[in-house]
């Protein structure tokens, strides 16, 4: 019986834990919070589980479905992993102290973190009242605190839109949603139900150029941006507000992964993985947002199950085909397809670089076209799936996934 240690009990880790146990492994699940569920605990809105459960669940309900199934799994909460190295995991918690666990397999399911003000370099003062959207969500939904009366949201991705609605329902005024790109990366449904429903203006091709306020935020300066995404001088205007939410991107949380020397794909900022979710380090697997930032938790659970099954059984080394993003595509996961594997079909997950109404996904092996599929309505905000037969993939040394726009 193989031992599997899983780092993180959010949706990825929960799914991996159940799958690994069902596949016959002994599972230890480590979670840094006091509760299981990860980020789902603060995602109190619905829309989760449409594919998996054919229902629209809230985040906590979705997590609950998995938490209910955790029998015969060792769980340690309030536990932070400090280090992973060659199959051993070192962690701390107040009760057990510092401990090291050696297992046959480790599954990384640490999720992701939010891009900060520093990462986008917004000039100005440094007052209270500037939050990343996720931190604001935690304050409101977990701590039960009001964080502001009048807010501006920077970033029209789904998290920003969700928080615009959340703050409005809890009695705040959301003065504007400001988006750098000429399009929103959020779902239409969220644009309608989070912005239109409450008459919150959306400023596309705009950004926040200055933060104003010595102790608490007093206002932001917003300006139009040009095609180079840089502020256009003279277009600045002031919006009075006491809260600024930053919803400007998520980054896979790979401190432990990097420290362990595991290869990271610069396109995803996540580990390079095989189709069975093993990383380049034998016995270490990864799944969920730590590999690539997902839009749908249903796919996170799928990935977790793949990792759990593979970790429970182990995989012999073998030949593989490398997969890389090409023209029009930002990244592809998995970055390696094994020539030998349990499933005949492997699904490639990727994002296109810009929106495209009508186009084709074309996979090349060098100059040779290997696969072509028409697609409608591709956009960077929605992860794409492309199934490819393992046999076909194995004929190539390197596969390049591209997107061609119809003219």
């Amino acid at each position: 019986m193989r031992n599997v240690t899983i780092i993180g009990a959010g949706p990825a880790g929960l799914a991996a834990a159940i799958a690994a146990r069902d596949a016959g492994a002994h599972v230890l699940l480590l979670e840094r919070a006091k509760e299981l569920g990860g980020i789902l605990n603060q995602c109190i809105h619905n829309g989760f589980g449409l594919y998996r459960f054919r229902e629209e669940l809230t985040g906590p309900e979705y997590a609950g479905r998995f938490i209910d199934g955790l029998h015969d799994i060792d769980i340690r909460t309030d536990t932070m992993v400090l280090e992973i190295s060659s199959g051993s995991v070192t962690a701390v918690n107040p009760k057990d102290g510092l401990f090291t666990v050696t297992s046959d397999a480790v599954i990384l399911a640490m999720g992701c973190r939010e891009r900060t003000r520093g990462a986008i370099g917004v000039p100005g003062d440094r007052p209270a009242g500037v939050f990343t959207a996720g931190a604001a969500q935690r304050y409101m939904n977990i701590e039960g605190l009001r964080i502001g009366k009048r807010a501006v949201i920077l970033g029209s991705g789904d998290i920003g839109l969700i928080m615009a609605r959340r703050m409005t329902l809890e009695g705040a005024e959301v003065a504007a949603c400001v988006e750098l790109m000429p399009y929103s990366s959020g779902l239409n449904r969220n644009i309608v139900q989070c912005l239109h429903d409450f008459d919150i203006p959306l400023y596309l091709s705009h950004t926040v150029t200055r933060i104003i306020g010595r102790s608490r935020l007093e206002a932001v300066e917003v300006a139009e941006v040009g095609p180079d995404r840089k502020p256009v001088p003279g277009t600045e205007f002031r919006i009075d507000c006491d809260t600024l939410l930053l919803s400007v991107g998520l980054i896979p949380e790979n401190e432990l992964t990097r420290a362990a020397g595991i290869a990271i794909d610069p396109h995803t900022n996540g580990p390079v993985v095989y189709d069975d979710m093993e990383t380049t380090q034998k016995g270490v697997y990864a799944c969920g947002n730590v590999v690539q930032v997902h839009d749908l938790v249903d796919f996170v659970s799928d990935e977790g199950e793949r990792a759990g099954r593979a970790a429970a059984s182990g995989q012999p080394e073998g030949a593989y085909t490398e997969v890389q993003p090409g023209s029009g595509v930002g990244y592809v996961v998995p970055q390696r397809i094994r020539h030998e594997g349990a499933e005949d079909t492997v699904t490639l997950f990727f994002r296109v670089r810009k929106p495209c109404r009508k186009g084709s996904l074309v996979v090349y092996d060098g100059e040779r076209e290997v696969l072509r599929k028409k697609r409608l309505y591709m956009t960077p905000g929605e992860m794409e799936k492309l199934p490819i037969s393992r046999e076909l993939a194995s004929t190539a040394e390197t596969l390049t996934v591209t997107m061609e726009e119809d003219t």
């Binding site: 809230t58 309900e61 701590e143 039960g144 329902l169 139900q193 409608l376 309505y377 956009t379 929605e382």
Partner: protein, 113 residues
Amino acid sequence: MKQELICIVCPSGCRITVEDGQVTDNGCKRGEVYALKEVTNPTRVLTTTVRLTGAEPVRLPVKTERDIPKGLLFSAMRQLDAVTVAAPVRRGDVVLRDVCGTGVSVIACRDVG
């Protein structure tokens, strides 16, 4: 009165116009159905939190069992402001019946305690 809206039924996101019960610029029948409902009786599911006592978390995530009229969202929030739930509580437990006279219950979204 003319109303313009974005259809959310599929990724096309058609910009639909509704005037005097007539729907135009919809890409399909589902869009027509959605658009008519949105202008005559728009409804939403409300998700929020309520006060929780007797456990470490101080807020309990809740949702309306079904969608309720969009115009009642803020009244529903106000009604829920007054609700305090005591742990233990299970997913699906009713925390408020018949919110704003809609006949729809508000239920707990997680187990606590």
